[in-house]
Every structure is written in C-alpha cells, then in structure tokens.
C-alpha cells in the first residue's frame, strides 16, 4: 500500500489547483451563493466551458472517446479539489453515466454520446426514482415499448435533479413486464426537449431544486437504448456504485472541518472562544480524524477502480461513513456556534456566510440519497460478508 502521491499525481494536483486559483473568481462564488447552479449563461456556464477546454470532463476516458486517458486516481484528486473549493466540477454525467456507456454501450452509443459529454455539451439528469420506486428501485414502472425503430416512453420520474438545466435524461425504464423485476429494465437516453417531456419543480429543504418529470408518449430512436435491452439493472447498479464514490468524496468535509477549527478559535458574538473548551476540542479532534479516514477510503476506492474492479463494498462503506460524518460535522458546528449557527447566508452576521447553517440542511440528503444507508449496510453485510439475503 502506497499512501504517498507520486510525482505525476502531485504535478496533477498542482495543475488542478492552479486552474481553480485562476478561475474560481469572486464573481463565480457570488453567483453560486445567489443562484446555486441555476443561472444560465452566467459565470458558472463560463467556468464549465473552461473545464471543457481543459478536457477534464473526459479526463479518465480512453483518448478514442475524446478523453485524456488519465486514471481514476486523477479523477478522484480533481473531484476532491473541486469539492474543497466548493465549486461544481465534473458531474454524474461524467463520473457515472459515461463510464457505464463506455463499459456496456453499443459502438453507436459510444460514438454518439461520449464525445459531447467530454466537451461538456451533453449533460444528463439521472432518472431512476419514481413515486413508488424509491429504495425498491427495481419495481420502477416507467414503460418503454418498441414501435418500429422508435421507443415510446410513458411514465414519470421523481427527484429528477437537474432536469431543468440538462440536455438529456439517462432514463431507467421497464422494457419487459413479464419477467422478474430486475430482468426487465433498460436504460434509454432521452433528449430533454423531446415532445411529451414535461417538468414540475420540487424545492428541497436545502434550497436545492429537484423535479418531477413526466413522459407522455415520448419517442426516441431505438438506437438510444444503452447496450442490450433488459440488461439495464446491471448498468445502473454499476453507475450507482460510481455515483456513490463520486458523491461521497470528502473534499468538502476537509474544508468544513478546517473552517470549523478556525471558527472555534474566534470569539463568538458572546465573546466566548469555543476552542478553549476541552469538550469542543475533543469533538473537533474526532471529526478531524474521521475526515482523514474518509479521505483514505476515497483513495482506496479509486485505487481499486484503477485496478479494474467496481468496488461496491468499499464505496458503500465510504458512503455510509462520509454521509454520517457530514451530519455529525453539521451538528457539531451548530452546538459550537449556538444561535450564531442558525444565521443564514442572507445575514451579514452569519459566520462564514452561513456555510454551516446550510450544511445542516444539506446533510440529510446524502444519507438517504444514492442508495440509503440502510440498504448499503445490507450490501456490506451481504456482499461483503456473504450473510444471507432476507429477500429485499
């Protein structure tokens, strides 16, 4: 086991940091604070173009698909660094959809979809969840029926994040209702502007916008089906493993704990300096240790990925650990700041522009999203330790 970055990896990190120093401008930070990811044609769009020019949307893909041919460790370093700076980098289209197209797609799928993803021009909303298919995702009902050389799609997706600003859906559909539920699922790429697609906004507690998206006799070419028909369950479980790995990156947590240490050493409004309290220091020390561990878990998963396996048990472990850690960080911040911790970003008096107030509301999502921690604990026990399935 080698815990040190090699010369090439250090150089890469320098390059990523130099890029962020240059392009994370006060204007971009202000726009993100005001509009989150929602502003079109603003600073964020320009920032994304810069990332695209670097080729970083396809950094770990083979060059034949428009990628840079770098490895998962490079991707992990980049995503961590972006997280640490608090700016959006390569999203799930890049880190989870594209690798599955590469692994399982037809030659036409690859030729058609990978180059625009690498250029940052094709961005997918991930359409898995439905009103009646949450944790039990395989019971999804959105139906696709082949009519000549077109798929005709009917149904709806909920929690369809990013639909309002993406170009396509990575849509999970039922193509065969007459076989066991895991065996009749396929994945189809649907342009978001196809006739019959409509989007209803849903606002979450964190302020994050997600959607319910409806598909009403939506027609797409038969060749938009990824890989083979009825084999989609394998593709999405693979994609979900990658999603967990990417989403549970601890870059933002490193920054949060560093910020929290700094805040604890400053006087609060009441003049008290929290870090003088041994109990506070003890809690911060434990969080600090756990962020280091989460970072190591991320590197371990990336290392295994580099060796060609999709490390489901490792990413499940990492996901449960980091998502619960995130919640503990938010709770510690609240206890440490007291009422100051409730002030939001619209109040000048809010510590760190309300970052920890926001974190408290953001933290629950990753605990149940991308595979709930309950199901992932099942995965760890059943796949990691071969304990018997109870028929979930």
């Amino acid at each position: 086991m080698d815990f040190a970055l090699d010369a090439d990896q250090r150089q890469w990190l320098q390059e990523v940091r130099a890029f962020l120093r240059e392009h994370v401008t006060p204007a971009l930070v202000a726009e993100l604070a005001e509009h989150d990811l929602e502003k079109r044609d603003g600073e964020l769009a320009a920032f994304r173009r810069k990332i695209g020019e670097k080729g970083w949307f396809g950094l770990n893909w083979p060059t034949e698909y428009g990628g840079l041919g770098l490895g998962p460790i490079h991707q992990h370093l980049l995503v961590s660094e972006f997280e640490r700076w608090g700016v959006p980098g390569p999203d799930l289209t890049v880190t989870s959809v594209a690798p599955m197209i590469m692994r399982h797609g037809t030659e036409q799928n690859k030729a058609e979809f990978l180059p625009p993803i690498a250029r940052g021009e094709m961005v997918c909303a991930v359409g898995y969840s439905e009103p009646d298919a949450g944790t039990d995702l395989a019971s999804l009902r959105t139906r696709a029926v082949l009519d000549g050389d077109e798929w005709v799609i009917n149904g709806s997706k909920i929690w369809n994040s990013g639909a309002q600003r993406c170009t396509h859906e990575w849509l999970c559909v039922r193509t065969n209702p007459d076989v066991p539920k895991h065996k009749g699922i396929s994945v189809i790429i649907v342009p978001i502007d196809a006739p019959g697609v409509s989007i209803r906004p849903l606002e979450a507690w964190s302020g994050y916008r997600t959607n319910e998206t409806f598909f009403d006799d939506v027609r797409v070419p038969a060749t938009n089906l990824i890989g083979e028909v009825d084999r989609g369950w394998r593709y999405i479980t693979g994609a979900l493993d990658l999603e967990r790995g990417a989403l549970t990156n601890a870059g933002d947590l490193r920054r949060a704990v560093d910020d929290l240490w700094a805040l604890a050493r400053e006087p609060r409004r009441d003049g008290a300096v929290p870090a003088t309290d041994p109990g506070v220091r003890r809690r911060l020390a434990e969080l600090d240790a756990d962020v280091e561990v989460a970072t190591l878990m991320g590197f371990e998963a990336a290392s295994l990925l580099a060796d060609g396996t999709i490390p489901s048990v490792e990413v499940s472990t990492e996901k449960v650990f980091t998502s619960e850690l995130r919640q503990r960080i938010a709770e510690t911040a609240l206890d440490l700041l007291g009422p100051d911790g409730l002030l939001g970003h619209n109040t000048a008096a809010a510590p760190l522009h309300g970052a920890f107030e926001r974190l408290y509301r953001a933290a629950p999502l990753l605990r149940f999203g991308a595979g709930t921690n309950e199901v992932l604990r099942d995965v760890i026990a059943q796949r990691g330790h071969r304990m018997p399935s109870y028929g979930r």
């Binding site: 040190a4 003890r282 020390a285 434990e286 190591l296 760890i380 109870y390």
Partner: protein, 368 residues
C-alpha cells in the same frame, strides 16, 4: 498513491497466516495464560526465527532482511488475527528501538543476536499512559565502567521473560544540562526488583524498581533526543493499531460464521437485518481503523514525526476493536460468553491494546 496491497504484501501475508495457523493456535494462546504453566512459546519462536520474521525490518549489515516498516505491518496484521503472544512483538519492538536509538557499535553488537532469536526483551521508553510522553523515568550517575541507575518503570510487558529492557535514564553532570541515555537493563541483575502486575487475562506486565543498578558500558546505547524516542514509541503504537484492526477483522469473520450457522425462528440469525446492520457497522469501523493504522505506519516509515497519523490510528483502532468485540459478544449470545468459544481472547486483547501507550482520550489530545 495506491491503496491496494501489492503482490509481495499479499504473499507475505499468506505466508504469515500459514505460519500462525500452524504454530499459534488458540490452544497455545490459552496454554500460555495458565497459572504456573510454560510462559514462553518456544516452537512458535523457533518458527518465526526460521521464517526470518525477527530479521524483517532490519538492514543486511546486522543480518536483517532489508524489509520495510510496511512489511512489518503486514506481519503485525497476521499476528493480531492470530493473537500472537506479546513476547514476540515486544522483542520486535526492542529491535526497532535498538535500530533507531543505539550508537553504531552497540547496534552492531546487539541486533544480530536479536535477529537470531537469542535476545528477547521489551521497550520502556514512554509512559504506558501516553506514548508521546518520553521523559525518562530513571536517573543515572556515571561510574568508572558504566552507569548506576535508580528509579521505577511501570507496566513493562513480559519483563519476566526478557534478557533486556530498553529504557532511558537522565544523567546529571554538574554544570551541564541533563543528558538522556538509552540503555539496556537486565531484569535479572542485582538491585532490580520485578513485581508482576497481572491482568485478568494474565498479561504479564511488571513494575520494575531499580535501586542503584549497575549498567555496564556496553549496555549503554548512547544519547538520545525526545524526537527519536517519540518516534519509536509511536511506531510501536501504530503497529499495535494494525494489530487491533486485523484482530477486529477476525472477530467479524468469526461472528458472521456463527450468525450464519445458528438458527432461530427457523432461519439463520444472520439473515435478520438488525444483525446485518451490526455487522455492517463493525465492518465500517474496522476498515476505518485498518486504513488509519496502515497510513500511520507508512508515514512513520518515511520519516514523519507521526503524532497526528498515530493519533488518528489510535482513535479509530481502539474504538473499533472494542466495539467489534462487544458487538460480537452480543451477536454470539451465550455462546460467545463461555470461555470455550475463545471470543474473550480477542476481547481481552482489544481491551489491553486499546489503552497501552494511550487510548482514545489521550490520542484525541495529541490532535487537538
């Protein structure tokens, strides 16, 4: 950066696992604890010497096999799984301390015999309560042919089996600052009094009281600084964390095996989600411990002071091992509570290694 075991590491682990399976069954571990029984694992010792385990982390000039601290961590993991008796690991600690602290001629004089299995012993350079506290416990005066040493050492492991205890003493020289010397104390020397401090698990800790004990010149290893002493103590602590993480993995495996064979309500108890979620939490805690421990050993082996890395390792490993053994007892029910199933042997080790040299409260203090 690559956090997967190399092929050499996997081969070494497999070889060690075989060796311990053959020579360190739990029957041996239990026999060594019997009151009045044989305390020294002769056959295991011979096998380890033959397999050059005692030579592993040392350079070829003293007869070592030029391995790394990372290699030693691989050995420690297997030792932890198999509950390897402490006299073996304490002797390796002695070797590491001599290697790091002794003047070249003393190092050359002592390490070859340790590597051959002819010198056994232990290290007492830090507080048993806090590995970063390396203030000397003994005072010494210079004599014509060595030192005259006085003071008390606490919780010295296997002192009754040791040929040498490596410790430090402060030497006062009039008009000059105190000098700290590393030295080897022979527990059988005149003026040394050993008092056992046995735990309920029959770990043989001792209090050693020295009253004007003569330490010959060739047992005085040289002047040492705080920094290097602390690195030795933390290296020992980090290796113990590897031991703890691997021990916890073994306990999980035993627990899973039990829950998958024991049936209640007509199905294996391991098929209940409550049981699976306990196992998942044991797994998560243990993986955290494993990564933190290996990282600490890695960075100590590359010259970092290692305080931060070892603190993290202790926080994760001590917590994980205790929690895993406690939950293992829960999942075993009565069958894990009776002595014949051996589970308590791991629980005892978790308890001892969790605090020896500083537990979670102390380690958190190293970080804050």
């Amino acid at each position: 950066m690559k956090l997967v075991a190399t092929e050499e590491e996997r081969d070494l682990a497999a070889a060690m696992r075989d060796l311990f399976a053959t020579h360190c069954p739990t029957t041996l571990v239990r026999a060594l604890r019997e009151p009045g029984g044989e305390r020294f694992p002769q056959k295991l010792w011979e096998a380890l010497v033959r397999a050059e385990v005692l030579a592993l982390p040392f350079a070829a000039d003293v007869g070592g096999s030029d391995g790394t601290l990372d290699d030693l961590a691989v050995v420690y993991a297997e030792a932890g799984r198999a509950l390897c008796p402490s006299v073996v690991l304490n002797t390796i600690h002695l070797g590491l301390a001599i290697d790091a602290l002794a003047a070249p001629d003393r190092r050359a004089a002592r390490l070859p015999s340790l590597i051959r299995g002819d010198l056994r012993g232990t290290v007492a350079v830090a507080s048993p309560y806090d590995a970063t506290d390396v203030r000397p416990r003994l005072r010494a005066e210079r004599t014509a042919d060595g030192l005259r040493v006085t003071g008390r050492l606490d919780y010295v492991g296997d002192a009754d089996l040791a040929d040498a205890v490596l410790t430090t003493a402060a030497v006062e020289t009039y008009g000059e600052p105190d000098e700290v010397l590393a030295l080897l104390v022979d527990p059988a020397a005149p003026g040394v009094q050993l008092t056992p401090l046995p735990t309920s698990a029959d770990d043989r800790w001792h209090e050693i009281v020295l009253d004007g004990v003569l330490v010959a010149d060739d047992a005085v290893l040289g002047a040492v600084g705080e920094e290097e002493l602390r690195r030795v103590a933390l290296t020992v602590r980090a290796l113990q964390c590897v031991d703890m993480a691997a021990g916890a993995e073994t306990v999980i495996a035993r627990t899973v095996a039990h829950t998958c064979s024991r049936e209640q309500f007509g199905r294996p108890i391991g098929s209940f989600q409550a049981a699976q979620h306990l196992v998942a939490d044991m797994h998560i805690a243990t993986q955290a411990a494993r990564l933190a421990a290996r990282s600490a050993v890695f960075w100590l082996g590359r010259g970092r002071p290692g305080v931060r890395e070892t603190a993290i390792a202790v926080l994760k490993a001590a917590t994980a091992y205790r929690r895993v053994t406690a939950d293992a007892h829960q999942l075993h029910g009565g069958m894990g509570y009776v002595l014949e199933t051996d589970l308590h042997l791991w629980s005892e080790r978790a308890r001892r290694l969790g605090v020896e040299g500083g537990g979670v409260d102390v380690a958190a203090g190293w970080l804050a």
